[in-house]
């Protein structure tokens, strides 16, 4: 067992876990943050995607003890005081899911994509998201949701700069 602190969704959280235990299982089973999903444990499906220092990362393949200095964001940490992010809202508006099991990973992967590439083309979305499996096959809706979120963020930014002028 080893003891360490993880910075998850802005809060320092104490963990006591085997040093090799994956970040995914530490989040889910030690910190009770079950929004991050287990799909394969092999880095192949993206269900376990979280943001580590802003980058979309597979939490199933990293030992939690290795990221004790990083800023980790999970699906539970996106909405602020009940206000959803543009990506979350777009997934609702496009109903970009069926069973919803891939949704956490999809939303975090899309969030990372849009922070780097605010107006992605279809090709850029496919390239960035191809590691995330939706077994229910809702890819076309997820693609539409990402475009919608990009539009909404453009609108938000326009409002902000408009207000500053």
């Amino acid at each position: 067992m080893s003891e360490f602190v993880l910075n998850v969704n802005g809060a320092p959280l104490h963990v006591n876990a085997p040093p090799q235990e994956s970040l995914l299982f530490v989040l889910r089973n030690h910190l009770n943050l079950t929004g991050t999903k287990f799909g394969c444990g092999e880095g192949q499906c993206g269900a376990c995607t979280v943001l580590i220092n802003g980058r979309a990362t597979r939490s199933c393949l990293i030992p939690a003890s290795a990221v004790s200095n990083a800023k980790i964001v999970t699906i539970e940490g996106l909405d602020q005081n009940g206000k959803l992010t543009a990506v979350q809202q777009a997934f609702i508006d496009e109903e970009a899911m069926q069973c919803g099991y891939c949704t956490s990973g999809m939303i975090l992967a899309a969030t990372a994509l849009l922070s780097k590439t605010p107006h992605p083309t279809d090709e850029q979305i496919v390239a960035a998201m191809n590691g995330n499996i939706c077994r229910c096959g809702t890819y076309p809706r997820i693609l539409a949701a990402i475009h919608r979120a990009a539009e909404a963020r453009r609108g938000e930014r326009a409002q902000l700069t408009g207000g500053a002028r």
Binding site: E42, I92, C99, G137
Partner: protein
């Protein structure tokens, strides 16, 4: 009432009922009814002859044993509907609530569906076979319509008027003549009424629907984008530990020797052995899996078939006592073939494929004395309860199975392996146990969609009329085996086989195989006859519903202008199963140098009677098209001697973003016809449409699914294409 019951009563009052979750504790069904706190309960039974009122209070009675569904209207007007069906992503939590709201004349959001909890919902065989919409839908509508009539009768009593003069809308009974109304809550307040109804209540026709028939969004969707929704694998119980199970080295293996001493020495680990079942529990998943890995076990695995001899086995291993099942015979195929102007004979195959729901099998088991509660992902909570009763020799009253809305199943979660394993571990550990199957376990120890061999020979008259059709299916099943085309001479036969691998249900399992074979064959005949594939089909079809979807898909696709070239192929196919009709057009791009194919565009026309939720149905159809790309082009389970050779996503390719074509769904809404289920048959048109497009472009007929596997499938001729 003792203290714990009061506590639960308060827990219901504080709004936990607003969610779709039921209380976690064991509650006797009688107390449960009492705890609903008065109001009106309406039960639907298939047998009683007409509506009858029990008139007894909740305190002393139990619901009738044989109930298909029930609903409760509380004093605040909120409606809870109890059904044994489960939500697995097919969105029936939404579409069933729409139908109840419609008949009951209440706002959609006043309905809460209580599903998948064997303690509180009526028995149900399971959620599969596209039965929910055609069967449970009308039952719930009947029950809701009866409830509305009961409320109108209650109002009529109060007002001393004829109930026929009253109307109902927006959770109210209205007396238009007197100009006053009462809410349902006002009518049920202080009541303790149970009404039992059977089948005959007039229903609102689809042409008059206001809530059903509209594109209602998924109920509770916000919880899926915030991570709050609890899937079966997310359930947490106090004091819970984690389990792992030792798997044999292959199918049908026998254990020769075992040494668990190293595992037992690991801190926090308990090794569990119960006959052939061996597992370990630990405070965390890593340690539990390490412990199982530390167990030294030696197995003997017998020799078993592999892909290389699969179809030989299927052709010869007819089930003992089964053999040829009674087939469909009309006219004489022999004679008609002798005089046919054009003949075509071909053999088609489909491989075993895996469901691979993104959420693997998972269960949390908790013993409370000799009461067992298991949370698990299953399409058959009552089936899993039966399995648990048998495994632990428990009466029905001591086993509760709860199915939280799960990470899908596609026909792959009918059985209760994970539930039984978690319960064994929990019993030995004396603690609640969570067990989530690894991806490798899911690929190996679940069951597969059957492999199948289809042999077809057919004859055509020179004017393009089919004269003979013979179709045999070995192993994959009889669904959609009968031809929808008009053929005077037919032999159609399903041959059950002892399958070398464990096989079971899958979304449209046999319909996919039979339709692939038939529609590929129809395409081959059309080309041989020098006819347009659409024209050839229409010439041999009289069914107006099938013709309608074909024409709708072709029209939207621009079929009449679609001229295939060596680098771009266009294909069409149609099919029917479980009361729905589908036609699919596909545009396929081929890179002859790289021998690669890519599906660029798919148009699918769909008709399944009156559409209950166009949003949900479009989502299902588009998803089915994407899912079917895997089976059509690259999914195949590779196996040899009792071992699965590709039990990982890295070795078993699934459709991903880059594979998804542009999809256009054309919905034909037949409000004059009963609604059929939409969960399955969207999948059956894609493979033949794509195969036919490949043929149109290249002149090569691909008769084996998958048509372009990423790794060669032993025993199959190498595909000229990859993707």
């Amino acid at each position: 009432m003792n203290d714990s019951e009061i506590a639960e009563f308060e827990c219901f009052q504080d709004g936990s009922w607003g969610s779709s979750r039921l209380p976690d504790v064991h509650v006797d069904r009688r107390d449960f009814l009492k705890l609903l706190g008065g109001g009106l309960i309406v039960c639907l039974t298939p047998h009683s002859a007409g509506a009858q009122e029990s008139g007894r209070g909740f305190g002393r009675h139990e619901l009738p044993k044989d109930v298909a569904a029930w609903l409760h209207i509380a004093a605040d007007g909120k409606v809870k509907v109890f059904t044994g069906k489960v939500e697995v992503g097919q969105n029936i939590r939404t579409s069933l609530a729409q139908q109840v709201a419609e008949e009951l004349r209440v706002p959609f959001d006043s309905i809460t569906m209580l599903m998948g909890d064997t303690e509180f919902v009526p028995w149900d065989m399971g959620t599969f076979g596209s039965r929910t919409t055609p069967t449970m839908g009308p039952q719930l509508r009947t029950m809701a319509a009866a409830a509305r009539e009961a409320l109108m009768a209650m109002a009529a009593d109060r007002w001393h008027v004829d109930a026929a003069k009253l109307t109902a809308a927006d959770s109210r009974v209205i007396d238009p003549a007197a100009g006053h109304s009462l809410t349902y809550g006002e009518l049920t307040r202080g009541q303790n009424l149970v009404k039992v109804v059977s089948g005959k209540v007039p229903l609102t026709p689809a042409t008059g629907w206001k809530i059903a028939g509209t594109p209602m969004p998924k109920v509770g969707i916000r919880d899926f984008v915030t991570g709050k929704h609890k899937f079966p694998s997310d359930i947490v119980r106090p004091g819970m530990l984690f389990g792992a199970v030792l798997r044999p080295e292959g199918f049908n293996a026998t254990l020769d020797s075992i040494d668990t001493s190293a595992a037992e020495k690991m801190p926090g680990v308990k090794v569990v052995r119960d006959g052939d079942f061996i597992g370990a529990v630990a405070p965390d998943v890593y340690t539990a899996q390490q412990a199982v890995a530390a167990i030294q076990a030696k197995w003997t695995v017998p020799e078993q078939p592999s892909n290389a001899n699969l179809f030989k086995v299927l052709k010869t291993a007819t089930e003992p006592g089964g053999g040829r099942r009674e087939g469909h015979l009309t006219g004489s195929v022999e004679q008609a073939m002798a005089t046919a102007d054009l003949k075509l004979e071909e053999r088609y195959t489909v491989q075993y494929i895996a469901h691979t729901p993104l959420e693997p099998r998972a269960a949390v088991a908790e013993w409370n004395g000799s009461n067992l509660t298991v949370w698990t992902g299953t399409q058959r909570p009552f089936g899993v309860r039966d399995e648990l009763m048998e495994a632990f020799n428990l009466p029905e009253s001591r086993v509760r199975v709860i199915q939280p809305d799960m990470g899908s199943g596609y026909g792959g979660k009918h059985t209760g392996e994970a539930a039984i394993e978690a319960a064994r571990l929990a019993k030995a550990a004396g603690k609640p146990i969570k067990l989530i199957w690894t991806r490798r376990e899911e690929f190996t120890w679940a069951y597969f969609r059957p492999a199948g061999l289809m042999e077809i020979r057919a004859g055509v008259h020179r004017d393009g009329r089919l004269v003979a059709w013979e179709h045999h299916n070995y192993n994959s099943g009889p669904s959609a085996l009968e031809t929808p085309y008009e053929v005077p001479n037919q032999i159609i036969q399903y041959h059950p086989v002892k399958s070398p691998l464990r096989q079971g249900s899958y979304r449209a399992l046999a319909a996919t195989a039979n339709n692939f074979a038939r529609e590929s064959h129809m395409d081959g005949l059309a080309h041989a006859a020098g006819m347009d594939p659409l024209e050839f089909r229409l010439k041999n079809l009289t069914n107006p519903r099938m013709r309608a979807v074909l024409q709708a898909a072709a029209g939207r696709f621009g079929w009449s202008n679609a001229r295939s070239t060596p680098t771009r192929g266009y294909g069409i196919a149609c099919g029917t199963d479980k009361g729905g009709y589908v036609a699919t057009c596909a545009e396929v791009e081929i890179d002859p140098a790289a021998r690669k194919i890519h599906i660029r565009r798919v148009v699918e026309a769909w008709e399944s009677g009156a559409v209950v939720n166009p949003n949900g149905i479009r989502n299902q159809i588009a998803g089915a098209i994407v899912q079917s790309i895997g089976g059509a082009l690259f999914e195949a389970i590779l196996f040899s001697n009792g071992r699965i050779l590709n039990p990982h996503f890295a070795q078993y390719r699934l459709p991903r973003f880059a594979d998804a074509p542009q999809i256009d769904v054309v919905l034909l809404d037949r409000k004059d016809l009963p609604s059929a289920g939409a969960g399955e048959i969207g999948i059956i048109g894609l493979a033949p449409a794509v195969g036919n497009a490949i043929f149109a472009a290249t002149g090569t007929r691909l008769c084996n699914m998958p048509m372009s596997p990423s790794a060669a499938v032993p025993g199959e001729p190498a595909s000229p294409l990859k993707c």
